[in-house]
Subunit: 328 residues, 2 copies
Amino acid sequence: MGITSKDIARICGVSRGTVDRALNNKPRIKQETKERILKTAQELGYRPDLIARSLVTGKTMSLGVVVFDIRNRYFAQLLNSIEITAKKRGYFVNITLQEKDPYMEIKLIDSLVDRRVDGIILCPVNKGDGVGEYLRNLPIPLVVVGNFISPGIPFIGIDEFKAASDAFKLIVSKGYQRIVFVCPPLADKDKENIYSHEKRLEGFMAAAEQMKAIEHIVIDNWDYMNEIKKLVKKNDLKTAFFCSGDTFALEIMKLFRSLKITIPDQVGIMGFDYIDTLEYVTPALSTIYNPVSEIGSKAVETLIDLIEGKEVEPYLLIEHKIIMGESL
Amino acid sequence: MGITSKDIARICGVSRGTVDRALNNKPRIKQETKERILKTAQELGYRPDLIARSLVTGKTMSLGVVVFDIRNRYFAQLLNSIEITAKKRGYFVNITLQEKDPYMEIKLIDSLVDRRVDGIILCPVNKGDGVGEYLRNLPIPLVVVGNFISPGIPFIGIDEFKAASDAFKLIVSKGYQRIVFVCPPLADKDKENIYSHEKRLEGFMAAAEQMKAIEHIVIDNWDYMNEIKKLVKKNDLKTAFFCSGDTFALEIMKLFRSLKITIPDQVGIMGFDYIDTLEYVTPALSTIYNPVSEIGSKAVETLIDLIEGKEVEPYLLIEHKIIMGESL
DNA sequence: TTGAAAGCGCTAACAG
DNA sequence: CTGTTAGCGCTTTCAA
């Protein structure tokens, strides 16, 4: 395509080895020839062919990322922080979307490996020992975010269990007598990795166990809107809806608005994740801050450490935080 | 790293050329040997090294993308559609973020070229003949989305001018007597490419010119919140705020909520872009649907056509659409 | 301090 | 139908 190191060698009347020494400031070269080479390289607008370099070094300086979907706020923020951190460390990112297709997920990981990315960040839809085994046998390092897969594959996320039980307790402290855990993804338990939601459920149940005076209900299917409609009719106990994701909470708020049910006077509501959409909705939703940017940058750092052969934390939890809005 | 075509050749007792013919089903090979080779390749789990292939073919089957930011809804949707379309066509996507830094933008384009991507999709922050010249001289094709740069560089976007004047007319038809065009990016005219906003302004002004009975005001700075506060005090004419971006509209709605000014009873408001956040805000914002997914997929199609040496539309406009909400 | 040669894994051209 | 050879552009020995 353009000008190669061979051209420079020829023009400067030196060998390609010497050009390499000058260009990548390696030792054992005379200052004078070095300068001469650099000068002509500059003048000719020489740019090294990174593909050729990769072939010999075995490094591409790029990271592969596999997630569901970018339109999802959670992933948009995650990818943003991954890209920025990677760039800072001199890496490029190859973003691929599996659209919640387990088969596609594997295909994408394979093609990233074929393209010789130096490592992969995965938010898995697959689960089970099979994938665990498969991932551990990859020829390049991989870290998992959000949904845990199995020990031996570095994981970065939050303490979902604690976050959910913290939320439960907070809601109780606000005087609610019935708490409904709204978690539609539970319906997909068999076909998808919904580790984070399962952990949230566990945290919710553990807290409920501790506080038996509080009635608790779990909604674990995608027809949650209708279930909620029925629930709000029997207006006996002071009820809060704790949603395993802000979007569910937003949908429910929309429903309540149409039913003329006011929040928090008639029912309470709490979300999870603190997606940026919340900035513009009223009443402000109480939720749990999911530190997705930190997760993204830690994932990159961990992955690069792994690439460089360093030891890493196999299971890294980032602090979450409760955000008090006006919806409780 | 793994098993190479050389290994297969050795094991099958044939030459590498023959292996190549089998693997990439090229002609001039006996069916029998082909099957034998494919079988052993399969058994050994052979995967071609795409880097090595790229070095010789000169193609990487990947597209570079340069945009501001992924957290921005507009870009999140754009990138989503770019990735999906590219994948369909067998291409990978390298996403890079320039964070509105013109210098970084050039650096990123250069590194994408160094990495030998086959083409680039750019939403530029740079402007002017200098960049135009620079981009036209790239060794690979490039298409521009959103902000036009200069003729000769294929562009994909919407008819901003018409969209804005359509909006003006719609607002007038709702009985408003004063229309305020809120467009803070105009303040950055000198340092950034804000083509789309400038065109919107032109469309607004052209419509205002046609309908002289309507008072029109332009707010072109980032202190727009205070200007609007002042404006709403003088409650003489029926006023609507037409924002050159939904996020400005959302900010203003938030302001009005805090000032107890009701929409649309006391003031009207209109946005631009139809970002997905709108789904959860009330009252539903009237806005202009910016077909960003179509723009993304068309950008990929155009770029691939260019890569394949086909002729393309140099200036492609996608249809916008007015979305009627409850805010007017 | 520099040059020469080998090789990364693949494809492509030309012989056989 | 198959083998041989060359070469993509770079880095990396080893020798001078």
